[in-house]
Amino acid sequence: MKRKRPYLWPYLLIAPALLIVLTVVFYPIINTISMSFQNYNLLQPKRIGFIGLDNYIEVLTNEKFWVSLWKTIVWVVAGVGLQFVFGFILAGLLNNKFPLRGLVRSVSLIPWVTPGVLIALMWTWMYDGNSGVLNDLLLKVGLVDKAVPFLAQAKTAFPAVILTIIWQGIPFFALMILAGLQGIPGELYEAADIDGASGSQKLFRITIPSLKNTLFVTTLLRIIWVANSVDVIYNMTSGGPGYATSTLSIYTFVEAQSLNMGYASTLSLMLTLVLLTVAIPYLRNMFKAQEN
């Protein structure tokens, strides 16, 4: 029963996971940094070699990078922002008692477990300019007078993919916010009712402050996921038409697919730098949580 060298145990226990993580995360990241300073095109293996800052200069002077950066910001702000709003509304509704609530809650989570590719294809089919159901509905209601090829024209393609990502993300927000709402003690609202507080006062004085941490963590996580998301846009438009739907993730993925790894590495590091602005507050929060 004597536990000899108990201090070795924890290290042995984390060793397998650590080994995997070092091999598939940390070593590759160092590799990316190294590749970003190289001409590393797998289609021209003979020309692989260090080229200093050339990739960085090329990225920063390429108009497509700046367009993609801007698209990433719009994609994240509009996508996550509206996921938040609708997720909040859905959570608020589901927090009421009504028949079949459990079923409704489960069913409303389905988009969250649906593969991104399938989501992209389902929406592509609905947006179709010839046989798409969305055009059929809009024509019936009279909102448009001829079918709109949503994904084929630059003006409508970006809003169309954003609507799709909103649809995908509502359930996750609703799920997290609902859990937060259920953690708020009912007495708070009862006390507010006695004091004659209005609905909006209750929302801003009780609900939102109590949910602060949930909203913060969920939003930051979502921002990171949405910014990193490739499958939805790529399978709807591949970043087109033109650069209309090319976020940094898509731009990088397209470059990686053409095996231009050096340039793609530089792009992905740029995306990582952008995301660090979001990740740092999240990490700080996590550190605080670890300390408690």
């Binding site: 598939v24 990316t32 991104g116 590719v117 990686a256 996590m286």
Partner: protein
């Protein structure tokens, strides 16, 4: 909460809920309807919102003409392997984090927890070259390994939360009774953790089953997973929407079923961290 009148309930609860649910569920309805429409009904001038001649032909074609069984087998293999590998190593790590104090614990923990924040495309590129060098490119192993980049951090976090809620006194009793750590873990902790392991496993399986970005780069015709196979249906001459939607329905049935069974505990685990903070 005080009682509200029926009218308020209708306008403030049922109506908005109905609209949101319509928005959330309509795409699935439309996918299903498309999958049971005969070809000629798909591209007509007048759209039908319920098929005039429903048929299972697309589902038959999917397996007979398209050989959808292969991608299903590949996806099952990859998702099952990813689940087993991630669960085992994550459970060990989470146990260490929740039950031991050791030097560097905080750094290790942050290392695990943060690494699913790296962009997929950041890891995709070096992993592609790594898999090529290791000779793993275009094998299921390359996907299993790549998926651990997001399944391990997530599972460690989730399992750590579950373990945290199991009182330490349980094992201490066993330790006092003369069992060693390993015995206490196997006899006391493991049985209690089974529901949590299932919930975590379902999540890992689900995300591996659904993954596309790594899958499209790391597979070829021999080991394509379902998401890649679905997308491949688009490539040929025209898009076979009937086949594609049938494939889509088949893809989500297993994950939805698993999710419904595991959802309660999974949601508890997911939300506990964020809510408690």
């Amino acid at each position: 909460m005080h009682k509200r009148s029926l009218a308020t309930n209708i306008f403030l609860l049922f109506l908005p809920l109905l609209i949101l649910l319509l928005f959330i569920l309509f795409p699935f309805y439309w996918t299903f309807i498309t999958s049971i429409k005969p070809e000629q009904e798909l591209y007509t001038r007048v759209l039908t919102y319920w098929p005039q001649a429903p048929t299972w032909q697309n589902y038959r074609d999917l397996f007979v003409k398209f050989d959808f069984v292969e991608p299903i087998k590949n996806s099952l293999l990859v998702a099952a392997m990813a689940t087993i590998v991630s669960l085992v190593v994550s459970l060990l790590a989470a146990y260490a984090f929740s039950r031991f104090e050791f030097k560097g614990k905080k750094i290790f923990m942050v290392m695990f927890l943060t690494n699913n924040m790296f962009p997929t495309v950041l890891l995709l590129i070096p992993l592609y070259t790594l898999m090529r060098q290791l000779g793993l490119l275009f094998t299921p192993a390359s996907l299993v390994l790549s998926y651990t980049t997001f399944t391990i951090p997530f599972s460690v976090w989730l399992l750590n939360g579950y373990l945290h809620d199991l009182p330490h006194s349980l094992e201490e009793v066993a330790l006092v009774d003369g069992a060693n750590r390993a015995q206490a873990f196997l006899r006391i902790i493991l049985p209690l953790m089974i529901p949590c392991l299932i919930a975590t496993g379902v999540y890992i399986f689900m995300t591996s089953w659904n993954e596309y970005t790594f899958a499209v780069m790391f597979t070829n015709a021999d080991n394509r997973t379902i998401p890649v196979a679905l997308k491949k249906m688009v490539g040929q001459f025209k898009i076979e929407w009937g086949l594609l939607t049938a494939g889509g329905i088949i893809t989500i049935i297993p994950v939805c079923t698993m999710f419904f069974f595991a959802q309660k505990r999974l949601v508890e685990g997911l939300t506990a961290g964020a809510v408690k903070g």
